[in-house]
Amino acid sequence: MSLQIWIDGIFAGSVFAIIALSMTIVYQPTRIMNFAQGEGFVLGAALGYQFIGVWHWPLYKAVIGLIIAAIIMGFIMERMIMLPVQLSGSKFAWIIATLAAALIFQSLFNIKWVNVTFSYFDFIDKNISIGDAKLSIQKLIVIIFMFIVYAANEFFLKKTLWGRSIRAIAHNGDTSTILGIPTKPVIKMGFIVGTVVIAAVGFLAAPVIIVAPAAGLFYTIQGFTAGIIGGVGSAKGAVVGGLTIGILDSVVRSWLGGTWGLFSTFFVLALILILKPNGFFGKRVEGR
């Protein structure tokens, strides 16, 4: 098996891992698996295309624009999801609400960008050669970004007061409020940070992979799959799960052809759910 397949796998795996990480960031304080998370990925790709591909903005301007847009999206998403969840009282409220939010964003993207795939150009159009395999700088940035997000999240959760608040809220929201933890702002922040992270990876990866306006749900599911394989709520699990499905997909794809990559991913998912229902690093999930 050639080295190139492994490099491509690690790159794709890093993308899935960051998606899973951003979902973990939202999950930690809310216990919600956000079906609308993948729409942030599309936002990043779409704005990259619009700012750089169409309007030819300089990179710094595009990045600032993207961050502002992602913050706004995270803020809106929090209201769209948490309001129904708090008011409805149904056990399924969060799934239905996040799904509805996903479809609303998806249709907005579909209305704004008709028949477009968001590919523009590589920011840095250079390759590193490893033997006869090539790794573009663009892909390397994504891989490094994944480790940065992971490390930052771990540091934040374990070493800061804010991180401890998140873990307390995850355990019991009402008690945390009584203890004086600002529950609602922490949840808002979770959505905003999660959206910024996933929009960033959409922005970075879109030049290399094909992203369509309606692709959000697909990336959500890839992130979920990674999360479930690794264990929901675990950052380490998100990274391991993401890399697992990325490499698996790449290897199987080169071996049996495109669709089989997708099938193999879900096959592993099914296997994990039967043999180890809580994933590699997950605790038993009670959910909301």
Partner: protein
């Protein structure tokens, strides 16, 4: 004089009849417009949506299983019909039946795969499977027509040939009405009660002897069959099957309909879908905004009308039933034989030997041997954390034993908690575990389901077997309720009665399972004096009938008054056992458990 509730119900009934008549007469109305086929098609498509939403309502609203693959099942049903008709030349009606069978099998396979998944994962797995199913038919080559879909499906005539648009329309309406009746009959039967019991609390359902996995499988199979049928009909009407039918974006409409109408209500799906169809029709000029508008309606409904239209009505002053007045002498109509069958008084029902349960380093139960005998009230006391509840969980197999053995009627007890329940041990939990959204009567009936000797098909078709079993169960349930002084409250939602009544109802429900051993975990907590008396007399009656009642209590006076034999537990070990009088005098109990002398005086 009839109550407002009954009057409104009659009004609603009349409205339903009128609605059905209008639906059947619609082709005549449509004829007067320029494009009758167009209008007929809109109504038929709404009917398919309603059928699918009914299927979603059964598994999600009543069963608590969130499926995101119902559009996928619908697509599979469509392809099953298409392949059998177009490629294999089958008769259309037979193919339609097969589309339902395929939907059911597909659903069963998925649930077998995901039985161990918690509900959080379940939604996700179904969504992933939906994607796989769509991808599979796209890659299906000649058989499925690949990306272009499968064309050339004709609606079959009766008995053969091609059906006219009008006949197809009437057929679709009729099938929708049949599906509504199927839903109603299922939900109002023991099948539906068990389904709701599982939704409310899987743990409690298990304590009543319901097998969670087996029943979930049945619920999903029924739901899949209806969804497959909806898919077959849809493809029949459209003339093709295509992967996009399975798309989640198309599935949004069902969730909107279900939430708008009311999740877990009988009429909700139909009312909701009808409303969505009207909305859909009025925005037909702006197709690209459809998902946006539907999504916004869904979120809005969840915020403003969380229970949906029907649910809000049912919860309101006008739509919810009251307790009725009991006719004088009515209680005499219900006779009840609570004698436990095939048991002689004093016979050892359960024998536990050296039961040990460790949680890591915590020795919660550390070698307890105990015997429960027929016709006895057996008290278990001990300080908080002494291992009483753990012992009960170990005996009823909610916990796996670290070591030791449990014998039930001389044979080794089964490892599965619901089987232990079926073999005659029922427990009532420390905190009330009623099915709150279900009526008082249905709560008791759920406890009786083991005696209902009818199956799903009996329930759907309301066969004589079902009718007989059902009327017998209802009479027995009323007899039990009258024993607890709760006659007249049958129709109330269990969540709306007082705390003491809830506890009594829970005991009644447990008795309804016809247990040989009834375990009550702190039943007297929070009861008023009167309720305490009802409970005492109920327990005495049960024990007199040969039942073994195991009482775990902190209320020492209550316990000592009732119990024939008392076991005292401390730190996971038995420190004393005997009659209440003997235990009260036991030195070790006085010193180790009761500790201070003031308390021992109170006891003595």
């Amino acid at each position: 004089m009839i109550s407002t509730y009954k009057g409104l119900n009659r009004l609603l009934m009349a409205g339903t009849v009128l609605g059905v008549a209008l639906l059947y007469a619609f082709p005549l109305l449509a004829k007067t417009t320029e494009n009758p086929t167009f209008y007929l098609q809109i109504v038929s498509v709404a009917c398919f949506s309603a059928i699918l939403t009914i299927s979603l309502n059964i598994c999600m609203g009543y069963g608590g299983l969130l499926s995101l693959m119902h559009t996928g099942i619908q697509m599979m049903g469509g392809y099953a019909l298409g392949i059998l008709m177009v490629k294999k030349g089958w008769n259309g009606w037979l193919a339609l039946v097969m589309s339902s069978v395929v939907g059911s099998i597909f659903a069963i396979l998925v649930i077998l795969l995901s039985l161990r998944a918690t509900y959080l994962y379940f939604g996700m797995i179904t969504l992933a499977i939906n994607l796989i199913a769509m991808e599979t038919v796209r890659q299906g080559g000649e058989l499925t027509g690949g990306y272009n879909g499968l064309f050339g499906i004709m609606a079959p005539g009766i008995p053969d040939g091609i059906m006219s648009a009008n006949t197809l329309y009437v057929t679709v309406i009729t099938i929708l009405i049949i599906m509504y009746i199927v839903q109603r009959n299922l939900i109002l039967s023991g099948f539906g009660r068990n389904t709701m019991a599982l939704r409310e609390s899987s743990e409690t359902a298990t304590a009543l002897g319901i097998s969670p996995n087996m029943h979930r499988l049945k619920v999903f199979a029924v739901s899949g069959a209806i969804a497959g049928l909806a898919g077959g009909l849809l493809s029949m009407q459209m003339g093709y099957a295509i992967a996009e039918i399975g798309d989640m974006g198309n599935g949004l409409i069902f969730f909107v309909g279900l939430f708008l109408g009311g999740v877990g209500t009988l009429a909700g799906p139909i009312l909701g879908v009808a409303l969505v169809a009207v909305i859909d029709f009025s925005i037909r000029g702006t197709a690209q905004y459809r998902t946006l508008i539907l999504g916004a309606i869904l979120l809005g409904t969840m915020i403003i009308l969380p229970r949906g239209i029907v649910g809000t009505y049912r919860a309101s002053r006008y739509g919810s039933p009251r307790s009725r007045e009991v006719m004088p002498g009515e209680a005499d109509d219900y006779h009840l034989d609570i004698a436990v069958k095939n048991v002689t008084k004093g016979e050892v029902l359960l024998e536990a030997t050296d039961v040990v349960k460790h949680f890591g380093g915590v020795h919660a139960v550390d070698g307890i041997s105990v015997q429960f005998k027929a016709g006895e009230v057996h008290g278990i006391i001990g300080p908080n954390g002494s291992g009483k509840s753990t012992l009960i969980s170990a005996l009823t197999r909610y916990h796996e034993l670290t070591s030791g053995s449990v014998k039930l009627l001389g044979a080794e007890a089964d490892k599965k908690p619901y089987k232990v329940a079926r073999n005659g041990i029922t427990r009532v939990f420390q905190i009330p575990h009623l099915f709150e959204r279900v009526s008082v009567l249905d709560n008791v009936l759920t406890g009786m389901y083991r005696r209902d000797n009818y199956n799903v098909f009996d329930a759907i078709f309301r066969t004589p077997r079902y009718r007989k079993a059902n009327s017998r169960s209802v009479a027995e349930a009323k007899a039990l309720l009258s024993l607890a002084g709760m006659l007249g409250m049958e129709e109330l939602a269990a969540g709306s009665i007082s705390h003491g009544q809830k506890r009594l109802l829970e005991v009644i429900r447990a008795v309804a399972t016809e247990p040989k051993i009834l375990i009550l975990d702190e039943p007297a907590t929070g009861l008023t004096q009167d309720e305490m008396h009802s409970l005492t007399s109920l327990i005495r009656t049960l024990a007199a009938g040969g039942m073994c009642v195991v009482l775990i209590e902190h209320n020492v006076a209550f316990l000592m008054d009732l119990a024939d034999i008392v076991t005292v537990i401390q730190s996971g070990k038995v420190i004393a056992e005997g009659t209440p009088q003997a235990v009260q005098k036991d030195e070790r109990v006085l010193e180790a458990y009761l500790g201070n002398t003031d308390f021992s005086k109170e006891l003595a």
